[in-house]
Structures are given as structure tokens and as C-alpha cells.
């Protein structure tokens, strides 16, 4: 196994006057991974996270970054903190400058960047989180989700290799949560290592590719989410609830209604599984619907509006903050803003056409996901790129009149 990027080796920590917050914790975070630290409040998640960028020093044990044990002199700490960015749970404690721009500039200025580089870093970071145009606004007039994104931009502006999020979606409403989680996905797909702490099993189940379950300062389990979360006993020990779909799946398995195997991770997979269980195979169907895919960086809004207005597509989804911004600007109403690919596959399976708007590296991701699904399920589905003016496709729903 290659050296993990971040690693703790049997670290312990105790706050004054309290029981041990960490009682010998060893974790390994691989470079480029999406890891979720899952556990109830008080399990020691935040304490562990604070150790990873040297804010807390373990009482015993060792933290290693890139294979080297952390040093706790000022110089090394500065260097470490630039590389391991930390986004607090509550953006209100993190965003403290009087304007968005000044706040995002805080880190780069402290890094000693020249003014031009600072300006560039701020512009890039704000663009990334989809908040360009917010530069002069006072942060305390922003919504919760916007504040969170400013906080993230403030860290991104320092260009860290690892991003650590403490309870990234706490107190956010579903739409803002989705936006933030999408941002995390984009960051991870851009090659950064992303680590979050959460008590939301549902979220970790959907998002993470590796899960570390914690309770009372110890690691109870680690592994892929569907494995860790299938163990009811473990989750009960960590005072957590299993994800609803997994819970249903396990109960169906216990009653012998469905074969137990790898649990489905999404509504799409689940639907397919039940369908297959009932008919013994995926039933033959009409021609599936088409999935149009558009790269918002390369297409104008007009082409897309044509698709929608002529009734070629019945459902439109956008992935990523920039894509949503684009749709907003072009006044294209979105039906799906989260779980977009799965939703569109589901629609294609019942013969309806849909359009996915996204940007950059996510385009590849859509092709890959649909390809994978197609291979697994044996149903021929693929994404049709939209480029330049589109001629109405040969989907079931054709241009009216």
C-alpha cells in the first residue's frame, strides 16, 4: 500500500477536566480520497480533525503528513496549515472580515502573496464557489449557504492539497446542503483530498468512498460505506441511524423478499433491484429516453432553451454551482439539482428525455457514470452531447407539430 497523505498513529488527547476525547486513534487518509468521519456529537471527530492541521497536539501518538511526522514549530505549522485547509462547522466564526472579498483575501495576504496574486486568488476562489459578484457584500447579510461558500472560498484561496470540513452541511437546508456537497465532489474530482466529519449517515453513505466510524474517542470501524453502515450493531453502538434505503433493504433481506448482496446506494439501483427480483430479469421495454448532456462553458443558452421549449426534453437537471448559475442566468427552470445523473437515468428508463447541464471535469464524470450503468444493467443508454444549435433528436417525444 502506498503511503497515505495524512495518517495518525495511535493518537490520544484529553481536554482539561474531561474524559479522554481521543483514546488511541489511528487513521489513514489516502491522497485523492473522499473520506467521511462519522459519529455522534462528542465522539471525538472534531478533535481528530483539529489534530490534522496541528491546531491540537496529541498527548501521545503521532500525526504524519506525506509520511513525515508533524513538527510543531511556528514555521512548520504555517506550512502545514497552508496545505491542509480547514473549514469550520459554523461559517460565522470563520468569516469575520467586513466584506466577502476581504475575507477571502485574509489567507493569501497572510501568506505574503503580492497584491496582484491575492486579487487573482480571490477571483478564482469566488468563481469556483459561484459567488462572483459578491465581492463587496458584508457577509452577515448572506444566507447560510452563501456564508458556507464564502468560508470555503477563504480556504480555497490558499490552495491547500487537503480540505477538511467539520460538519459541512449542519444547519443548512437541503438545497444548500446539496450545493455544498456538490462543491466537495468537484473539489475531489479536481484531485484534492477531501475529508469531512458528519453525523449524517445518509450523507456519508451517498458521498464518501471511505468511512471511519467513531464513538467515544475510538474508531469502531472503517471501510466502504455500504459495508460499515450495513452492520446495525455497529451503528447502534455509535448511536446513529442507518440510511433509510439501507434499512429497508436489510429488512427486505431478512424477510427473504430480496437477495442480500451488495446493498443499493441509490433509488435508481434500488428500483432496478426490486424490478429484477420481481421479474427475474430487467424487463424489455420501449426505446429508452435520451439523455442530453451540455457543457455550460461551451454552449449558449439559446440552444438549450430551444430543447426545452420545443418539448424535446421533459426534465432538466444541473450539476455543479457554475452550471446552476448558468441555468439561472439563462432562465432555464431546473427540475433536478441533486442526484441529477440518477434521476435522468430513471427517466430514460421510463422512456422520457432529459437534459443535464454541467461544466468542466464533470462532463466526463456523467459519461462515465451512464456508461457504467449501461454496462451493469444491460440497457443501452448513453449521453448525447449538445453542441451548437441542436436539431431535435429522434427521441420518443418529438417536436410538437
Amino acid at each position: 500500500m502506498t503511503t497515505p497523505l495524512l495518517e495518525t498513529d495511535n493518537v490520544t488527547y484529553t481536554y482539561q477536566n474531561s474524559p479522554a476525547a481521543l483514546a488511541g486513534v489511528s487513521v489513514r487518509i489516502a491522497a485523492g480520497s473522499k473520506t467521511a468521519l462519522v459519529g455522534p456529537n462528542g465522539a471525538g471527530k472534531s478533535t481528530l480533525l483539529l489534530m490534522l492541521n496541528g491546531m491540537l497536539r496529541p498527548a501521545s501518538g503521532e500525526v504524519r503528513f506525506d509520511g513525515r511526522p508533524l513538527a510543531y514549530d511556528n514555521r512548520s505549522l504555517r506550512d502545514l496549515r497552508r496545505r491542509v485547509g480547514f473549514v469550520f462547522q459554523n461559517p460565522d466564526v470563520q468569516i469575520i472580515a467586513p466584506t466577502v472579498e476581504q475575507d477571502v483575501a485574509f489567507g493569501p495576504v497572510n501568506l505574503g502573496l503580492p497584491p496582484d496574486a491575492v486579487r487573482q486568488a480571490v477571483r478564482d476562489a469566488l468563481g469556483y464557489v459561484g459567488l462572483r459578484g459578491y465581492e463587496k457584500r458584508p457577509p452577515h447579510h448572506l444566507s447560510g449557504g452563501e456564508k458556507k461558500r464564502v468560508a470555503i472560498a477563504g480556504i480555497l484561496a490558499m490552495e491547500p492539497a487537503v480540505l477538511v470540513f467539520d460538519e459541512p452541511t449542519n444547519t443548512l437546508d437541503p438545497a444548500s446542503s446539496e450545493e455544498v456537497m456538490e462543491l466537495l465532489d468537484e473539489l475531489a474530482s479536481g484531485g484534492r483530498t477531501v475529508l469531512i466529519s458528519t453525523h449524517d449517515v445518509e450523507l456519508a453513505y451517498r458521498w464518501a468512498d471511505s468511512v471511519i466510524l467513531m464513538e467515544r474517542g475510538s474508531v469502531l470501524a472503517r471501510g466502504p460505506p455500504e459495508e460499515v453502515f450495513s452492520d446495525h450493531g455497529l451503528l447502534a453502538a455509535a448511536r446513529l441511524k442507518p440510511p433509510a434505503l439501507l434499512d429497508l433493504y436489510n429488512e427486505l433481506g431478512l424477510r427473504g423478499v430480496i437477495d442480500r448482496g451488495v446493498p443499493p446506494k441509490s433509488v435508481l439501483e434500488f428500483t432496478d433491484r426490486i424490478e429484477r427480483e420481481m421479474h427475474g430479469h430487467a424487463p424489455a421495454r420501449d426505446e429508452p429516453g435520451k439523455i442530453y448532456l451540455c457543457n455550460a462553458d461551451r454552449t449558449g443558452g439559446d440552444e438549450l432553451r430551444v430543447l426545452v421549449e420545443q418539448g424535446v426534453v421533459e426534465h432538466v437537471g444541473a450539476m455543479g454551482t457554475r452550471a446552476k448559475e448558468f441555468a439561472n442566468r439563462e432562465r432555464i427552470l431546473l427540475d433536478y439539482t441533486y442526484g441529477v445523473i440518477d434521476k435522468c437515468i430513471l427517466k430514460a428508463l421510463i422512456g422520457e428525455n432529459s437534459l443535464i447541464i454541467t461544466t468542466g471535469g464533470m462532463v466526463e464524470h456523467v459519461h462515465r457514470r451512464i456508461g457504467e450503468y449501461s454496462a451493469e444493467s444491460g440497457r443501452a443508454l448513453k449521453a448525447t452531447p449538445v453542441q451548437g444549435p441542436v436539431s431535435p433528436g429522434p427521441g420518443r417525444e418529438s417536436v410538437p407539430e
Binding site: 491546531m55 466564526v93 469575520i96 485574509f106
Partner: protein, 258 residues
């Protein structure tokens, strides 16, 4: 970020002892210290109070040792001044080239002051580390301190902990973004921290008014706590101890009352 003594007061070995008695013991010790004209009694107080804090209240020795350093910078500077401006008696030390000299009178006074500060601070620590402020409020109420003062103090108490928590988090988030690297940045960051805290204070104030109104605020706050019975042995021990210190004080130089 801050180690507030109150946190220990809420859970220490002497938590269940009558707060009135602890307060009486602490304050009497302080008064005996400042009234003694010889270092012996204050030093005795310092030793016994430290012993009580460490052995009975079970405060970690390391933490207590660090506390003892708090008054050092103030005392060292002011006692140095007193050492040089107080003449009289034999000259013990002369600073070559400067009109500065340490005399025996000066040295004696400095020693006495050092002992008093030491004894006084140890007694103060005894109170601070064993008697939660939440119980001191009850005592103040029984002592007929005006209600408006106690109410204000109680509300302030509650908000100190809310704001300390926030200040700590803001500070941490600044450190993570390298906010306290150089002196200039530190001043800048401190200003930002204080400003953000001011804003938060303002919001807390407005929220507090709303919360109090929602709960039918009519100018009253809380209930008098039930008084805890004081053990007879504890009273006798306290009185015996205080008389002992009093005795030492009298026999070593008398008391200076006014």
C-alpha cells in the same frame, strides 16, 4: 483556549462543601494576610491554602503551578520599585554608578509584600477554584446585595461563556488562515476578532431581549437556591485554623488593622 478557573470550581473535591463557609474561609484568610506585619502568617496561609486546593479540591498540580505565575510579573516590577525607593537600615546592596541602593528596611518591606501577595493570591485561588460563581450569587442575595446588581452579574456570567467560546473559535479560524504570523498581522487580526465579537455581542443582546420576552420577563431572575447544611466539624476546623493564623500573626509582629 482560556482556562477559566470557574470550570474547576464546578467540579472539584470541595464542590459539596458549603459555599458560605468556603467564602468565609477565603476572605478571612485574605484579610489576615493584608493585616499581618510579618511574612510568617501570609506564608502560612499560602501554604495551607495551596495544600487545601491540591489535596482536598484535587486541582491538578501542574495547572495550579501555572496559576501561581500569574501575579509574578506585576509583583516583580512593583516590588522592585519598592525595594529601591524605601531607604532606612543597613545598606545591603548598592548599584554601582547609580544612586540606587537596597537597604534592610526596603528588603523587609519587599519580603512582606511578596508574602502578602502570595498568601492573598492563594486564598483567592482557593475561592475561585472551589466555589462556583453560581453559588456565590446565592450568597450575595442572602447578604442583601441589590437584586439589580446580582441580576446583571448573572446575565453577564452566562454571556461570558457564550462569547468566550465564540472568541476561541474565531481565534482558531484565524490561526488556521495564518492570521497571527507577524506582529502587523497579529494587530490586524486582533482588531478583526474584537470587531467580529462586538457584532456578535450586539446580536446576542438583541436575541437575549427576545428570549426574555418570550419567557414572560417581568423583572425577576431565578430563585434563591436552597441553603446547604454546614457540617459542625467543618465550622470548627475553619475557626481553629483561622485562630491559628491569627495567633501566628499576633506573635510575629501584630496586626495592622487600619
Amino acid at each position: 483556549m482560556y482556562e477559566v478557573l470557574e470550570d474547576f470550581a464546578q467540579q472539584n473535591g470541595l464542590r459539596q462543601t458549603s459555599p458560605g463557609l468556603k467564602l468565609f474561609l477565603g476572605v478571612s484568610s485574605i484579610l489576615l494576610c493584608v493585616s499581618s506585619s510579618d511574612p510568617a502568617a501570609p506564608l502560612l496561609v499560602a501554604a495551607s491554602m495551596s495544600a487545601a486546593v491540591l489535596a482536598l479540591a484535587k486541582i491538578p498540580a501542574r495547572f495550579y503551578a501555572r496559576l501561581l505565575l500569574v501575579p509574578v510579573s506585576f509583583s516583580v516590577m512593583s516590588i522592585a520599585v519598592i525595594l529601591f525607593i524605601t531607604a532606612g537600615g543597613a545598606v545591603l546592596l548598592e548599584v554601582p554608578g547609580l544612586p540606587l541602593a537596597v537597604t534592610s528596611d526596603g528588603a523587609n518591606l519587599a519580603l512582606l509584600l511578596l508574602a502578602r501577595v502570595f498568601g492573598g493570591m492563594c486564598s483567592l485561588y482557593f475561592i475561585a477554584l472551589t466555589t462556583p460563581m453560581t453559588e456565590v450569587f446565592d450568597i450575595l442575595r442572602r447578604l442583601r446585595v441589590p437584586a439589580v446588581f446580582i441580576d446583571l452579574a448573572m446575565l453577564t456570567y452566562r454571556f461570558i461563556f457564550i462569547l468566550i467560546e465564540e472568541a476561541g473559535q474565531i481565534y482558531r479560524s484565524q490561526v488556521m488562515r495564518l492570521g497571527y504570523g507577524r506582529f502587523r498581522e497579529s494587530v490586524q487580526s486582533s482588531g478583526m476578532l474584537a470587531g467580529a465579537l462586538f457584532l456578535r455581542t450586539w446580536e446576542s443582546g438583541e436575541a437575549l431581549i427576545l428570549a426574555m420576552d418570550a419567557r414572560c420577563y417581568d423583572g425577576k431572575l431565578g430563585i434563591p437556591g436552597d441553603s446547604r447544611p454546614v457540617s459542625f466539624i467543618a465550622i470548627i476546623t475553619t475557626l481553629l485554623y483561622l485562630s491559628a493564623v491569627f495567633g501566628v500573626s499576633l506573635s510575629t509582629g501584630g496586626l495592622v488593622l487600619v
